[in-house]
């Protein structure tokens, strides 16, 4: 039961500082008041720039939605300030809207339960067991986490949908709300894995030892100690999954559509895109959705923040690995199966659809074709859409990184009210569904008078880039600030006292240490933007679809093979780009700890 880890050679190692003499630990947030960083004052301009960006990119669109929902005439010509409940009324009278709302809620609850159970099990196996190849599985969790939901949803649609692979023998039984729930759980369980992992890492082995020495059997230890101590992590994981389900557009637009299972995000999209458009109803639905998601987020914060759970309490020794014995390899196979389901099945379904003439005809040479790949390369909006996405994503990633870095400098410097406001804006904007933010962009920028003064961004790639920045910025700021906060102030002070100028300190001390994190942020935002779906669907300029839009368009116009081929090409293309860049990164920094540096965000 207890392995060598119990025998930490130096009992006075790390973690000891957790329980000082002062009453109550003050966890999590490091001091941002460092005097060593006062010199960064020269870069304080970065704060206002990033703050302005956060306001323009996130706050204004959200305000636009709020106004649109209550003052439907505000953005009309001429503008009117007439208060009206028409948007909410329309929503209440629209059976589709109500149904989708109810569906989303139920789906969210069911998925939260299943995904949390799955995620907790995976976390337990990865953190506390002697499972073989744990690093490999940990990487797989990240792969699932990063995979775009719409590609997963599309892959399952190909498998389960009419004429799909499984449709021929399974009768599409899984093409149902239950199927959607399972697919979403398979995609979203990493959120729960991450929270439970950090919960487990926060527990010292002494928690269990103290219980057992006090006379508790292992069942009692579980019931009275471990589970109560993991409740915050489980709750947080479940709430995040719930919010992710509510916000998700990728599966809502693919698998759920194929299953005739309307969800709120798709209902908002429909209200915006159908003719005649119903802006105020879309706005009303968005307001409801955002309110719900924010409530969930508050709940999640409270769950984690209670009673100083954030610090490691049980002691400084990590939980000793539990031996699985003869179940060791069985557990490994089971976990492998989970990843096959989560990633392998949709990938294979997509691949098979792209190379077979009749998907249900089985594997024989006469059924194979490269025609879909030729079509994918030749269709007007195929590879060009992917190329456009690469360019837009690169621009957005660069700008996002710049803003994130600027913000991280000023964040370190000040703990003022402004810094906190930006922090709140950015953390809440993580929870704002992309489709809602996109709707806000439409309301805000689709106004004739803006065009008149040269700010007619609606229908341009500029607005799309702004949208991508808005989705990436919270992560960029979090990661950049996190890395900055970890930079010991003594290092800066030492360099300053050694006579280094601000420029030297930046160039010789700060940048070399933070550059790897910055490059990783760039990669993360870039890869996320290439396949971004909801914003792109709402904001892509006429005649200039992005990769995700083009792929979905192929599927919606029943060009299944071409769509699948395009998906494969784009995925491989993106994979190649990311691989080359991260190889470059590895060479630059000689250490790639992608998962570690990103791990701090959840």
């Amino acid at each position: 039961m207890i392995g060598p880890r119990f025998l930490t050679p130096d009992p006075k190692s790390a973690g000891q500082a957790d329980l000082g003499a002062e009453p109550g630990p003050s966890p999590a947030r490091p001091s941002l008041l460092g005097r060593g960083f006062a010199w960064i004052g020269r870069l304080a301009v970065g704060g206002p720039i990033a703050t302005t960006a956060a306001v323009v990119l996130v706050v204004l669109p959200l305000c636009a939605i709020l106004f649109q929902s209550a003052l439907p005439g505000l953005f009309g010509v001429p503008p009117s300030l007439r208060l009206s409940g028409a948007g909410f009324g329309a929503m209440a009278a629209d059976p589709y809207a109500l149904q989708s709302g109810l569906d989303s809620l139920l789906l969210g609850l069911a998925t939260a339960v299943l995904a949390t159970a799955l995620g907790a099990l995976v976390a337990w196996l990865l953190t506390v067991s002697d499972l073989p190849a744990r690093r490999l599985y940990a990487g797989a969790v990240w792969a699932v986490f990063l995979a775009p939901t719409f590609l997963i949803g599309q892959g399952w649609s190909l498998l389960l949908g009419p004429g799909g692979l499984a449709g021929t023998f399974a009768g599409g039984a899984l093409l149902s709300p239950v199927g959607v729930m399972i697919v979403l759980s398979l995609k979203l369980f990493p959120f729960a894995t991450f929270t439970v992992q950090s919960g487990l890492e926060g527990l010292g082995d002494e928690v269990i030892q103290a219980g057992r020495i006090s006379g508790a059997r292992s069942g009692t230890v579980w019931r009275r100690l471990l589970i109560p101590l993991l409740v915050p992590a489980l709750t947080a994981g479940g709430l995040i999954v719930f919010a992710e389900v509510l916000s998700d557009f990728g599966v809502a637009a693919t698998l759920a559509q194929s299953a005739n299972f309307p969800l709120t995000t798709y209902a908002i999209y429909t209200a915006l895109e159908s003719f005649p458009t119903n802006f105020s109803e879309a706005a009303a639905m968005s307001v409801m959705l955002v309110a719900l998601v924010m409530l969930v987020q508050i709940g999640q914060r409270r769950a984690v923040g209670r009673r100083g759970f954030a610090t490691r309490w049980g002691g400084h020794k990590p939980l000793a690995p539990r031996l699985l014995g003869r179940f060791r390899h069985l557990a490994g196979v089971g976990l492998g199966l989970l990843f096959v389901l989560a990633l392998g099945v949709p990938a294979v379904a997509t691949l098979w659809s792209s190379i077979s003439i009749h998907v249900g005809a089985g594997f024989n040479l006469s059924n194979l074709t490269t025609a879909f790949y030729q079509a994918a390369i030749n269709v007007p909006y195929g590879m060009s859409a992917f190329a456009l996405s690469l360019v837009l994503a690169a621009v957005a990633a660069s700008l996002t990184l710049m803003l994130g870095v600027l913000q991280s400098f000023s964040w370190r410097r000040s703990s003022g009210a402004l810094g906190r406001v930006v922090d709140v804006i950015l953390t809440t904007s993580i929870a704002v569904p992309g489709i809602v933010l996109g709707a806000g962009y439409i309301f805000l920028w689709n106004q004739p008078w803006l065009a008149a003064i040269g700010l007619g961004l609606y229908g341009t790639t500029v607005l799309l880039v702004l949208g991508y920045i808005a989705t990436g910025l919270p992560y960029a700021v979090r990661l950049a600030s996190g890395a900055m906060a970890q930079l010991p102030e003594g290092q800066i002070s030492a360099a300053r006292m050694g006579g280094a100028s601000t420029r030297t300190v930046l160039g010789r001390i700060v940048v070399p240490q933070l550059a790897p994190t910055w490059l990783r942020i760039w990669l993360l935002v870039f890869a996320g933007a290439v396949f971004e779906l909801p914003m792109s669907m709402l904001l892509y300029p006429p005649g200039q679809p992005t990769a995700a839009v083009a792929i979905l368009h192929q599927f919606h116009s029943m060009q299944i093979g071409t769509g699948a081929a395009l998906t494969v090409l784009a995925t491989l293309g993106l994979g190649a780009v990311v691989l080359v860049l991260s190889g470059l990164l590895a060479r630059l920094t000689r250490s790639v700890h992608l998962d570690q540096s990103l791990g701090g965000r959840l």
């Binding site: 025998l7 130096d10 928690v207 057992r212 006090s214 100083g308």
Partner: protein, 413 residues
């Protein structure tokens, strides 16, 4: 409980964390297990608590077999308790709930439970904090909760794993006395693991000194401090001068320092064939006086002050002996550098350490020494050299020196 440990071993992989440890802890005593990091004391705790199973040896408690090779009675059935280094409080339980936990799982009736929890909380002065959560307590209060939880079930043995190491220095001092008093008041047997010699000296009835997984010496605090058996024990128990001495070729039982001062004599069979030995002289056992002063007979010699540092309670003085070796002394006077002073060794019974020089270690099996846990190992010979006429107690060091036998050849070189 009376705890009996018989030649306990613990190995994992190729590492021997604990080798051949035996001890017998009588009911009601507090013992300290003292040693540096990696000395095996944490392993010993794990074995005693039942968190680890030994690879060899046995543990008995109150006549009950608790551990044998490959098997350990589970921790929850050993009737022990433990105070952890990080206290290991459960953040979701209040002080009262935490302290009641051992009684709750033992299904002690509610009324009895409440009474006992109140009693224990009162004894650690936490009765006003019963409803608090751990994060609402100070470090010292947390530690008292951990102690209360360890005492509440009237365990037969309390294990304490460096319980002071997370407290700041001042708190540590006051908690030392308090903890010892609480443990004695409850009348429990306790094993206190620490790397801090002061804690061990202050709290324990007996100290078990460990190094590299082995027992080095076992004895009362006085034994360990005044009569250490190895260089390791000397150094670990506090600052010390170790002066090389050689047997006098002419007179059995007499030893001579490098600068000609003689130590003698002994009634025991002298073991001078070992060659060189080391004379232990702690800095506070050295008295300095002005050269001009009349120095009575005794172990005295002249030395030169080479450096001194004021430390508040005393001056730490560095001296050079006539043969060029160094000596450290604590003195109430700040001598000037370069001054020649008279050094007098205060102990009436000089303590010699016979430890082979490097390369002379015998290859006898270690087990031989552990037949009798109290006995010295074959390589750890010691001899007390008594000054035959010197009074044992009741007189000052000066008096003792004054009454030293005439034949003492201790002179200035």
């Amino acid at each position: 409980m009376s705890l009996k440990v018989r030649s306990l071993h613990y190995r994992y992989g190729s590492v021997t964390a604990l080798a051949d440890l035996s001890l017998e802890l009588p009911q009601g005593q507090i013992w300290a297990v003292l040693g540096p990091s990696g000395s095996g004391k944490t392993t010993l705790l794990g074995l005693l608590a039942g968190l680890l199973a030994p690879t060899a040896g046995e543990i008995w408690g109150e006549g009950r077999l608790l551990s044998r090779p490959g098997w350990a009675l589970p921790p929850e059935r050993r009737r022990m308790s433990m105070v952890f280094q990080d206290f290991a409080l459960w953040p979701h339980m209040t002080v009262a709930q935490t302290v009641a936990f051992p009684l709750t799982v033992a299904k002690v009736p509610e009324s009895e439970r409440r009474r006992r929890v109140e009693e224990v909380l009162r004894s650690v002065r936490l009765e006003a904090f019963a409803k608090r959560y751990p994060h609402e307590l100070s470090g010292g209060q947390r530690q008292r909760v951990a102690i209360a939880r360890a005492l509440v079930g009237r365990p037969s043995l309390v294990l304490l794993d460096e319980p002071m190491s997370n407290l700041d220095a001042r708190l540590r001092e006051s908690m030392r006395l308090e903890l010892a008093a609480t443990l004695r008041q409850e009348g429990v047997s306790a094993l206190y693991v620490t790397h801090d010699r002061i804690e061990a000296l202050a709290i324990a009835d007996k100290i078990l000194l460990m190094d590299a997984g082995k027992k080095v010496q076992e004895g009362t605090p006085q034994d360990l401090y005044q009569r250490p058996q190895t260089r390791f024990a000397v150094d670990f128990m506090g600052a010390a001068n170790l002066l090389a001495v050689k047997p006098d070729p002419d007179r059995r039982g007499v030893w001579t320092t490098g600068f000609g001062v003689r130590l003698h004599g002994t009634e025991e069979e002298p073991r001078q064939e070992e060659g060189q030995a080391l004379w232990l002289l702690r800095p506070e056992q050295v008295a300095l006086s002005a050269k001009a002063a009349v120095v009575p007979d005794g172990i005295v010699w002249a030395a030169t002050v080479t450096d001194r540092v004021y430390l508040g309670a005393y001056w730490e003085v560095a001296l050079r002996n006539p043969d060029g070796t160094q000596l450290r002394a604590h003195s109430q006077e700040g001598w000037s550098i370069g001054e020649e002073v008279t050094v007098a060794a205060l102990p009436t019974a000089p303590w010699l350490i016979h430890e082979p020089m490097p390369g002379q270690e015998t290859d006898q099996p270690e087990d031989a020494s552990l037949q009798d846990p109290q006995g010295p190992g074959p390589t750890l010979l010691r001899r007390r050299i008594r000054k035959t006429v010197a009074p044992r107690d009741g007189t000052s060091h000066r008096d003792q020196l004054a009454r030293a036998p005439e034949d003492s050849d201790s002179t200035s070189a």
